[in-house]
């Protein structure tokens, strides 16, 4: 009955799907796997210690936090919105696209500029709706819903595909650690380099799609008013 060793994977899949406490799932899965595979408690605790210490690099984000909060305190968010505000003749789609590019660049440098709660809601959505109102239209409710969805979408797309460009980002460190467990030694710089085309294509797909979609929505909701 070799299959019983898969109990840990079953626990991980069910646990995350049922939204149980993530750390509880991980500890339970590790303990159950050790139990059915004849690994004793002392060895398990030692593996925990040894492996966590070997993967301490994944806590590097804590060091970066020394400046993230203080940069926010010193006006990083205001500076980002001033940068987007410099674009002339903007539409909602262009504002979203500009944010996507800036978010991507900062993501590659492992710097957050506020996310949905800190930037999109208080800064980006008003900027996007402002471009419609400045042309003398009233913002259509359905268009607003789509602007919100696209803004949250570009936030995710730019962040996901560009954060992997940061040398020493959490994802690359986990890949490096996973490969080390399997006996492969890979440098972080290679892990970042291989993602360059993915980041460029990802951001391009996101901003072109949202720009086209917004253009179509603008024609649909505002062209008749004139």
């Amino acid at each position: 009955m070799e299959y019983i060793k898969l109990i840990g994977i079953l626990i991980v899949v069910l646990g995350f799907a049922l939204k149980l406490d993530s750390i509880l799932i991980i500890i339970t899965a590790a303990a159950a796997t050790a139990l059915v595979s004849g690994i004793d408690i002392a060895t398990l605790v030692e593996t925990f210690g040894q492996s966590f210490v070997a993967n301490r690099s994944m806590t590097i984000f804590i060091l970066v936090m020394l400046v993230t909060g203080t940069m926010e305190r010193n006006g990083l968010r205001e500076a980002s919105s001033a940068l987007i505000g410099r674009i002339k003749g903007a539409t909602a789609g262009i504002v979203i696209a500009a944010y996507g590019v800036i978010r991507g660049i900062f993501g590659a440098f492992n710097v957050g500029i506020g996310g949905v709660a800190g930037f999109i809601r208080p800064v980006l959505i008003p900027m996007a709706t402002g471009t419609i109102e400045s042309k003398g239209h009233k913002v259509d409710e359905n268009h607003l819903e789509q602007i919100k969805g696209m803004s949250a979408g570009i936030e995710n797309i730019s962040w996901f595909f560009c954060q992997v460009l940061f040398v020493g980002g959490a994802g690359a460190l986990l890949v490096q650690g996973t490969l080390a467990n399997l006996g492969y030694d890979v440098p972080l710089i290679r892990l970042a380099a291989v993602e360059i085309p993915v980041a460029i294509v990802g951001v391009a797909v996101g901003i072109i799609y949202y720009w086209l979609k917004d253009r179509r929505l603008c024609i649909k909701y505002y062209s008749k008013e004139k």
Binding site: A42, Q146, N181
Partner: protein, 313 residues
Amino acid sequence: MEFFTSPDIPLMTKLLEVVYIIIGLICLYTAGRNLFDKENKSPWGTAAFWGSVGIVIAFGRWLPDIVSGALILLMSASAILRLVKPGQDLAPTAEQTKAKFDRIGMKIFIPALSIGIFSLVFAFLGGNALVGTGFGVLVAMVLLFAFSTDNKPKVFFDDAARFLSIVGPTSMLPPLLAVLGSVFTLAGVGDVIAGIVGRFIPQGNVNIGIVVYALGMMLFTMIMGNAFAAITVMTVGIGAPFVLAYGADPAAIVMLALTCGYCGTLLTPMAANFNIVPVAILDMKDKMGVIKNQILPAVIMIVFQIIYMILIK
């Protein structure tokens, strides 16, 4: 002390250990601040969490594995029992940040970019990228102090503790998942999965292996809502035996598998932080409104990445 004075140990190794000690101290500072924070509803549990992880990060190199392991279990226990709480939030007000922006302006982008630049430079020059990150953080701190003398060391530590308290135990998922991965490897879980999957997909066809690995990453991430959890399981079970075993480039294949997983993250309500919480923050009517806007980009990106993986393997 011998470690730092010994001429046999490379400078980068020593500096990396200094970086870990600083990270550990930030955790210990967070523990101390929460312990004495009267607004924290669970000062002891919070301090136990950040304190134990801080000790392991700072001194793990010298601690016996069983002691580190026990501390990690203590950390996990305080998180599982929901005893870790953020204390008082000393976030700056909009007036404060506006006033700073009026004084500092666009120069704030320089420290913001310095961290990534130094990581890159160190990595290119053959140094350690993480030491580069540390160096970049140091440069950013000096610049911020030069811009405004309000930015004293205590401000940096307080802001770091504030952010760490906000992200909370979730931030420890990546190293804990790596720990789980090593337990799986120790138990031989990968061999069992490989045995099962091997009955369905032909041995020796790397391209089919890549397609199964990439789509598997996407689907597993959709079910679990977490690409980090999926990559440990999928790599041990499918990536290693069906792709890497045939000589494909491990760095390219596994890293790209992670971003294939991110395509899954874009498509699932399980990734609530990214796809459901924004619906609430932005007052949207359609609960799936964010995901619907991400379907087309996610599909294009998974196809693109599979082709890219096959081309550069």
